[in-house]
């Protein structure tokens, strides 16, 4: 399974796709800040103060969950945009 160096056209397409992805991603993330994190903060603060073990568990679930979700979103976006630019 040999991979050859990308051509100039491929590089330009990748860069363009990446820039569009960055803009779309920024919109998603801004919405996420206001819709999800804003509402989570009160509940998480309460857990942090009163149920510290549960808070520790939720911390791991949230960060791993967000990682899997964002990885899927960025991969999907990149695939979608690359598909259109080719």
């Amino acid at each position: 399974m040999a991979r050859v160096s990308p051509t100039k056209k491929e590089k330009t397409n990748t860069l363009r796709a990446f820039l569009v992805e960055l803009v779309v991603y920024a919109v998603f993330v801004t919405a996420y800040f206001f819709l999800v994190l804003h509402y989570l903060s009160g509940w998480l603060q309460d857990l942090h103060l009163n149920h510290v073990r549960l808070y520790a568990g939720i911390t791991l679930v949230l960060i791993i969950g967000q990682a899997v979700l964002l990885e899927s979103v960025t991969t999907w976006l990149l695939r979608l945009l690359r598909g259109r630019s080719e």
Binding site: M1, A2, R3, V4, S5, F18, E21, L22, Y25, V29, Y32, F33, L37, L40, S41, G42, L44, Q45, H48, V52, R53, Y55, A56, G57, I58, T59, L60, L62, I63, I64, Q66, A67, V68, L70, E71, T74, T75
Partner: protein, 307 residues
């Protein structure tokens, strides 16, 4: 944006940009990036205990993204990563105990600072020497076929004769690692991961600056696989550290989640970029990272301010 858990006001854009930058470094070099994230969080007024714990939580998320991408590129040795996780956790506990001992003795700052400077500078000096020699010998032999990816699996190192000697140590049980193309004693793997964990517990962060070079030079793992496997291993050890810090109240998960929005995209870029560089070039580019760590410690020693 107000973060009620740590009672701090930090711009989300600042956090996302820092996360992005550390994500690129992490995806490319297989390091946690705590030597940048810690000072960056301190710079905006976050307490030291929150900076350490929150950084660990962010490292977990970033490593999941980067390791997933590296796995898709065939750069993760799962068997090796799982074995290493055991040694790392043991080492981290011993490192933390060592810190407690030094705290009681009352000379913790000087000892930790001097040890870390010596180690950071030694790693960088050795890697410059080795990567430079390898690149020079490759140049002397003439250019190879320009096929990326396949060459990466058969990494070259001018230190390989010593690595092979370590691999020849037949101390039972021997472990075969088909993904990395290496057969080596289990005890060597445990020792390497234990040392990585020890530094993680002793100096803080994920200690990728010492684990990644040891994977390459001691175990003989190809650089691309060392980066991916180190990231996979960091997921397990940093999760353990995050849980431990969260119980002590040192993690502001909201800050970590915001930082991670930038890191998620940066880690992917870093991981994909490794495909365009040969092993010795990645190792040579790695050299400034421990030196940045050393510069931060020297600054702290000279000014008395913790970054």
């Amino acid at each position: 944006m107000f973060f009620p858990i740590s009672n701090s006001h930090i711009s989300p854009l600042y956090l996302a940009i820092i996360g992005f930058f550390i994500g690129v470094l992490g995806g490319f070099f297989g390091v946690g990036g705590s030597f940048i994230a810690g000072p960056a969080l301190r710079a905006v007024g976050l307490d030291w205990n929150f900076a350490v714990g929150t950084d660990l939580a962010h490292i977990v998320g970033k490593s999941v993204v980067a390791a997933k991408r590296h796995r898709a590129l065939g750069n993760v040795d799962l068997k090796l990563g799982l074995i290493m996780a055991i040694g790392t956790m043991g080492g981290a506990e011993v490192g933390a105990q060592l810190i407690q001992m030094l705290k009681r003795a009352g000379n913790i700052n000087n000892v930790v600072s001097i040890v870390s400077i010596a180690i950071y500078v030694s790693i960088s000096t050795f890697m410059i020497w080795e990567a430079w020699r390898t690149l020079r010998s490759q140049k002397r032999r003439g250019p190879r076929a320009k096929v990326a990816g396949t060459a990466a699996k058969h990494d070259e190192s001018s230190f390989s004769h010593r690595t092979k000697a370590i691999q020849r140590l037949k101390i039972w049980p021997m472990v075969s690692l088909p993904a990395s193309g290496v057969t080596i004693s289990l005890w060597v793997i445990v020792l390497v991961s234990f040392i990585g964990g020890l530094f993680s517990g002793f100096l803080g962060g994920g200690a990728g600056y010492i684990r990644m070079p040891m994977l390459v030079y001691v175990l003989g793992i190809p650089t691309h696989l060392a980066v991916g496997t180190d990231l996979f291993e960091i997921i397990i050890s940093a999760s353990y550290g995050t849980f431990s810090h969260a119980i002590k109240g040192n993690v502001d998960i909201l800050i970590a989640l915001v930082m991670h929005t930038g890191a998620a995209i940066g880690a992917q870029i870093g991981a994909i970029s490794t495909q365009y560089f040969a092993g010795p070039k990645i190792r040579l580019a790695f050299v400034p990272l421990p030196l940045i760590g050393a510069a931060i410690v020297i600054y702290t020693l000279m000014t008395g301010h913790k970054l």
